[in-house]
Amino acid sequence: MTRAPAAWLAACVLLLLPALAWAQAEPVRVGSKQFTESVILGEIARESAHEAGAEAVHRRELGGTSILWSALRHGDIDAYPEYTGTLTHELLKDVAPDADIATLRERLRPLGIGITGSLGFDNSYAIGMRADRAVQLGIRRISDLRAHPGLRLGLSNEFMDRGDGWPGLRRHYGLPQAQVSGLDHTLSYRAVASGAVDAIDLYGTDAEIPYYRLRTLADDMHYFPRYEAVYLYRLALERSAPRFVEALRGLAGRIGEDAMRGMNARVKLEGASESAVAADFLGVRAQADAAGFWLRLLRRSVEHIKLVALSLALAVLLAVPLGILAARVKRLGQWVLGLVGVLQTVPSLAMFVFMIPLFGIGAWPAGAALFFYSLLPIVRNTHAGLAGIAPELRESAAALGLPPGVRLRDVELPMATRSILAGIKTAAVINVGTATLAALIGAGGYGQPILTGIRLDDIGLILEGAVPAALLALLVQGLFELVERRLTPRGLRIEARQ
């Protein structure tokens, strides 16, 4: 009993050490957003850097624009592919919507960020419909949509919210549609193909446009800004990794629209890996990146379990004392329970994103988010376990003349064991599931293949993450039941049976 805290502490330190070591020896880090084109461009950056003799790693599919941008600003990544339209409309304030790259370069310099020239293609937003439906309704241009207020729009969440997205488009064209739903971009193609929605937003280089036989509507009133692809990088690299910067700049003007659409199609429609496509484009041999299935599984399992175990261990260290405090001091207890309850209501994705300014990207913010999620079940169950002890028994311990600390350790906590362990079990099982979202902010784990699988519409890949995650959840559940049986005092089990 007394040795347990020391063991927990040792476990925490052991889990922390590799993370620290890994944080130090890091080559240049390229990030990419959570869509295929960005991942391919990330791979191209990594492989051309390698060709130029600079080592780079690629942390793929980190999430949306805000995550990548803040990661770059905080130095959690060193470079990532971006689009000029995003810079002018979303990331930089007070910049003309049609500002050229030279202007953007001036504006980015004070932020310590550099920008390459245009890579050679413009991937602006567009509105697309199934070609047969467009023909049937006689729609060729965006302004034609005004005549069909009943059309259902399925817009990517990012497009729905950004200033240069749906709100501006609707105002600019005076669009009347009321049925607008937010979708994940990778799902919206299937939604429009199946007829669940009539029109979606898309990017000019999307591989799916020809595949699903979509028609892109002409932007006849010139609303959408240009989205020239560029790389953003931290200016500090010019000194620390000049070859990398040189390699990035060397890519300017080399990727045309057709080339990009072709690469997207090879990944999304033919199932080629981003690495292979990028290597083919650069005319080099793909670096062995495809680890075997078991090795991949092992790596992800380690990432996933490390994340869950560490966050859970730290949560236990805080939540059990908090639960004790809540049970001891009633008024404070209400506050404590309320606070951890509020934490639980934060949507998990939002929680992960909130952690980025505090912890950057990767395992740390993900662990922190999971830590906060673990608190409620443990605090609540610790509190409930202690509060549920019959007052006569608590008094009987006091009447013996045992000091409060001994009463807590030898009487109250053992009697609350079952409840506390159940709380930890709940937290652990929830954590195993929630940790799949951690891949969104670069923490890897079983969420990685799930994300990629959703992006590539590859059920096999989704299962590669989902099945081990489910198995792990079952394993954790079973493990805790075993622990519960071992740790619950025998007398309580006998009592419960009666």
Binding site: L393, L400, V411, P414, P489, L492, E495
Partner: protein, 262 residues
């Protein structure tokens, strides 16, 4: 082995006198005790009687320092009990409640050993003491290794009594110790308890709502009603010289109960 106290392991016969002085206690506005003064001489046996809610249990709880009086005080050997003394004081008092108050996660022996272990007694000494007291209270062999949930009601109360006696306390406070037992076991234990009180020479207070049981245990009875003492004296005093109509009614009602003893 058997000394004057009949209790093995006692170096000097522990004796203590204590008292409530003009003690009042209110719970959320309801008066539980209203300016009660009661003295308990060293070595005396007193029974507190009255119906539920009369304040009997509150007297014990105040004496143990589990609650503190709103007015008045508790005195132990003439000194006012304060919060700093309370742990040491509770260890000099054995306390048994109606349901025994045994901890379900520990065996009977684990329950007995809890306090001695905390006070640094060596394991053989705890074992020896537990077995002596088990013999004194007629606990059968092997009961000490069982969990409370595996014991009968009577065994549980015996174990609770042994736990209260482990440190050879100077006083025993028993709150309806037999209230939850069936009549046969109850009579058996009444006999045993009386014998033990006679041997030990401790200051004993028994709380009960049963007049016959009170008279069986104690020379001195204290009848309480609504937080105040109504009458104090021997059983005969209550019967022959009742202080009020309430006392007469209380005695009459009790006499009709079948389990009354002569």
């Amino acid at each position: 082995m058997s000394r004057e106290t009949g209790l093995p392991g006692a170096e000097t016969p522990p004796r203590v006198a204590f008292a409530l002085e003009r003690a009042s206690k209110r719970y959320r506005g309801a008066t539980a005790l209203d300016g009660v003064s009661l003295a308990f001489d060293a070595g005396s046996v007193t029974a507190l009687i009255g119906s539920s809610g009369s304040g009997k249990s509150t007297v014990l709880r105040l004496l143990l320092g589990l609650e503190w009086p709103d007015q008045g005080c508790v005195k132990v050997d003439g000194r006012v009990l304060d919060r700093g003394d309370v742990l040491a004081w509770r260890r000099r008092v054995g306390y048994v409640t109606q349901d025994g108050g045994l901890f379900p996660h520990l065996t009977a022996f684990g329950n007995l050993a809890l306090l001695p272990r905390h006070l640094g007694w060596a394991a053989p000494r705890i074992r020896r003491r537990a077995e002596e007291l088990a013999a004194l209270t007629h606990l059968p062999q092997g009961v000490l290794e069982r969990y409370p949930a595996e014991l009968s009601g009577g065994q549980r109360q015996r174990v609770a009594l042994v736990r209260a006696l482990m440190m050879d306390p100077a006083a025993l406070l028993l709150d309806e110790p037999l209230g939850a037992l069936d009549p046969i076991v109850r009579h058996e234990l009444q006999d045993e308890l009386k014998a033990i009180f006679g041997q030990l020479g401790k200051t004993v207070i028994v709380v009960t709502h049963d007049l016959a049981e009170a008279a069986w245990f104690a020379e001195r009875l204290v009848l309480m009603r609504e937080g105040a003492v109504v009458q104090e004296g021997r059983f005969e005093d209550l019967c022959d010289r009742p202080a009020s109509a309430f006392v007469t009614r209380f005695v009459e009602t009790q006499r009709r109960l079948p389990e009354r003893r002569p």
